[in-house]
Subunit: 363 residues, 4 copies
């Protein structure tokens, strides 16, 4: 049964195989009369794009997008917005030798078993190239959120064992885009870049953690008891390739606090109610409380190594192989806009699902 | 918009406020002709039940359930199964003094802001009493999975700073139910019990981690790219009250491995293909690969302390208050069947969504 | 896969077998803070109730409903509203002889083939007793619509070959409830009652048509291109037992008009735009235009005769049988509140799905 | 909230404005490993295409489709299938004078009121050009159904007052495609063609009825109580532009039969159970019974006349205007493949939703 649609009110449908004709997305449920910020789309695509620096894959995707519907004279119509990006620089021949190999920790084997067929070229549908559809859709979600005053900023907080211990409150998040690893701490960024360069030289790959902070969130987003805002964020992040962990607010560290230490005491702040601490990460009972939402997303090291590996082929024979093609030694820097896009999609979806709260329409 | 339904094929709708007339669930999409195991329902309810040991809350819920529909002569009809449990031992007067207080790290404030009204008695809809609906539905999911040979076993692997470092492979999971904290390591269990008893005495609360292992999973469950099996497990767990973290397989620890260390190499095992290691946690590309699925769920310490606390009331005045009522110093032991129930619901839902894979129907 | 839920924003889940423990409904997505009009619920239940007149079945359903959740101090909480009605007067023994018979034009055979099991008592899930769940939920939808000024009035416009040719504009719809057949034309009502009484005497049954008029509809309801308001009304009506036809506005008669005769010309009416004629039935392009919505629903004669009939049993043997039990010679009068309920559910669902139109929230 | 997706298991998302860049569809949930019949796609597109005969519009749509994803080496992958058709022959200038006019019985006014913006060129999203997406998707549904032995045949049974009284059983449906009006009765076809030619000359338009017959339907399709097979067919048909009526089996005529006349008596036929008559139209209790499904769909005369008309413009002024552009005097012949496509989508969706019935997988 279909699994390529995300969101109930602001709903996106993603399509495309890595070396097929095109990747694309259809957004159904976008607000009408929204002025489209084409620069924002271009900027986010560029942030996700391969080959943007020496530490990312060299695949030269032009990522020139074409909008097929839903926009008229620069504004959204309220009808479905379809956008495609053609796959132009795909070198399918790089994958010929892998046609029959089940690469370790890729989804070759599970796709083959589930569907009885797969497009082996560039990983087909399992390729992280699919995330370009999410970034495209996420740009529209960001436009709506920006009009509401909401900001979403993700950054790399860990690469391998290099962990930025500082809270987001101690960081200048505007530094994030100033270095190629997208870590807002310049000193740590330099170390991370060195570590990734070293892994690249080895033909190896590194994992890490992306942190994300959402500010100025309206109170009341989230639909208990199953579609809690945190539950939908967890699903959104875990739908991204290579994600192995998600925690919110105090997260896994918070389990070591006692209730008296963890509780976020309310206090008055002018005519608003705020919390003195924010271990809850801005969400209580599945509903946003107006405080900052912050969370961590853990990524495993990607499976495409440039080292010789052992595996099994479709004939169940043991084989050794070496991956060709162009691959990231560490996907974290390029995954930053993807995390932001998925967060934006969740927030806008919940905003538009919400017919009961006291929020004013902003248009 | 509605958020009280979970699952697309095996779909459950939960209802009920803690001190309302009844809690309940409607299961729509259960397979017909399934012999109902009433003992399994009773057992799982008893495992979730308050007051089962000295370290849990003393609320005496009888949890006697009544099946209203969907079952005929001991078998499921394929029509909706509605089950209710009346709220009999609710002492609403315990909550009178809290009527106007926004308790810290509870959802009093967010419910009030979102809906403009709330049932303050026992936390109303935000109460973890709601999870009884999930356990009821989960029992039916477990019956189906059991017929397929799938087993789900959760256990407490951490309480506060007491962390069971052993992998599930080193543990005898059949020990889990032999102690009241539901930790399969008897020595650690004893320490945890001591820690919880101490917290109880202090009027304080403790968080922790529940680990869950699913064995004999059919290959092919999960619907990329958004409804990945891991994504739906993440959402399911994060929909449980007090959950702050989720990781799968190597999880947050795995980000410190290099790709060459993390990749799960395939090998033949008779006529099957298996992986030498299982850092993937049994899911690759969002699809089950037949290996064990294992994951961790982090719970914050619950917010209901028996200590005096400060907060703000509906009139925005600063107040101090002390929680009355009966509360768990640590919810982890009782949350074990809830984690299992949610995992069972995700698996059965994906099994029934799957019209394309080669799995044989088992009935 | 589940099929017992209706509506995306105002969503209802129906459950119950005719002779099981109880019928019921869970409403998820009702607006909070709505004052519950218990009299409206009772009135609509009474209108649907069997045995209300000499021309309806004698089954004495008390239809005493119990609200289990979602309401606090007389107001909706915004949480799921669960309501049940116990099946008290069911005489299951009436159905013993039919246990193995596939009654003609009932769903005994299709349920048995689809599910491999069925509750034969009173038709089980296929029984029109299920519609009590819809009337219960519809009452809540009507409360919301009433607050918006919207009115829904259905009436019997045809019984067998007795057809009320008058348009709703020529009728006084307040007469509808003044006779037991629910036809607003007193003269025609009398004829219909005579016809039904005669059929009852014969042990036979009659079909007919219910017309429905919805006034003061906000402009902008309906979500093209698939969830058009007319498409969802068509589905809603066709989900009612025994319905065989639905048409809107000019309907099947309108196909005989030319475009120049059928087009509804716009004109100014103060500061509003209205149409001179209303062949469109208040919906254009799937979106309400503010005019009256009116439609017809055709019901076949119900299949439960008190005459001897031939059929086949589960062993594929030819049998003759005579239906026992209490059955309506004509369901039309009792189906009037069911048609209204389904219409109300569609309208409220579309109202709450609508985050973009200019309508003001009414609470 | 989104309304451009149809189907729960075999799910299609339609996009595109009439004079925008392209029309398109994404199919999510198609079975993998299906051999794609490109000729079937071309044939159905040609049947829907404007300008195929002297009685249809002269717009020269090449309707050359491009498949962007989901197909590999001629077979479906089980991943989303995206297909687009560019809008090449659109003469937007024809619509300049209508930019500010609300055309009678079009959706200009309701789109403007709902969204606050609209693409006026060629009707934008309200244009029946959108149905090309349905025909594309329907072709894939037909491929699956054909493999199962199911056939779907629609034909024109009424144009204006020319009504084909014969049942489908008396007709040779293979004659349907042999004349340009798609009526299987050659004599009636000739009359219809004459009538349409006359209307064209007048600049007027005609409505009519399309009948549809589905044979060899598996028993067990349909999900009571809301997603009955008939309910989903009703919705599917009413989602097509200009549809005003739908009836199934005996339909509106059947309301004039008594129960004893209407009931379909079961009898043995070899080792199968069949009905002697088929007033039910192949569906009982919302579930297919293996008999022929047949239904009627009533279309109003289309609103685009070539006669001068009166209306109101966006400034609420009364105006007169004459439609330019190329328009069908009667859409019925071209709507035949659209009705078939929607029927095919409903059937395949229900087939793939059905995890419980005894049907064998056919691949």
């Amino acid at each position: 049964m279909r699994g390529n649609t995300f969101g109930k009110a602001f709903s996106i449908s993603s399509f495309g195989e890595s070396h097929g004709v095109a990747m694309g997305v259809v957004i159904d449920g976008c607000l009408p009369n929204l002025e489209v910020d084409f620069d924002l789309i271009r900027t986010d695509l560029a942030r996700r794009k391969p080959g943007q620096s020496v530490i990312t894959t060299a695949r030269n995707e032009s990522d020139g997008f074409e909008i097929l519907s839903g926009i008229f004279e620069g504004k959204t119509l309220g009808t479905p917005i379809a956008i495609i990006i053609r796959n132009t620089d795909a070198k399918s021949s790089d994958y010929d030798q892998l046609k029959n190999v089940f690469r370790p920790s890729h989804a070759d084997y599970t796709y083959q078993e589930k569907y009885g067929i797969r497009d082996h070229r560039g990983g087909g549908r399992q390729s992280a190239r699919e995330t370009v559809a999410r970034v495209l859709a996420g740009s529209f979600a960001k436009m709506i959120l920006r009009n509401m005053g909401v900001s979403i900023q993700a950054y790399v907080s860990q690469v391998h064992d290099l962990e930025l211990k500082k809270s987001y409150l101690e960081l200048d998040l505007d530094q994030t885009e100033k270095n190629m690893v997208r870590c807002p701490d310049p000193e740590m960024a330099e170390k991370m870049i060195g570590k990734i360069a070293q892994a690249k030289e080895e033909g190896n790959t590194l994992g890490g953690v992306i942190s994300c902070v959402i500010k100025q969130v309206p109170i009341g987003l989230g639909e208990p008891v199953f579609d809690k805002l945190n539950a939908d964020l967890a699903k959104a992040m875990f739908s991204i390739n290579a994600v192995k962990g998600f925690d919110l607010g105090s997260g896994f560290e918070g389990v070591k606090l006692k209730g008296s230490e963890h509780n976020d005491v309310f206090e008055k702040n002018g005519d608003r109610i705020v919390t003195k601490t924010n271990n809850s990460g801005g969400i209580q009972g599945g509903i946003s409380n107006g405080g900052d939402i912050y969370f961590r997303v853990g990524f495993k090291p990607v499976a495409s190594l440039l080292l010789e590996q052992e595996s099994v082929n479709v004939g169940h024979e043991t084989v050794t192989f070496t991956t060709q093609g162009r691959h990231d030694p560490c996907v974290l820097p390029r995954a930053v806009p993807i995390v932001e896009a998925m967060a934006a999609l969740v927030l806008v979806d919940h905003y538009l699902r919400n017919s009961t709260i006291k929020m004013q329409p902003f248009l």
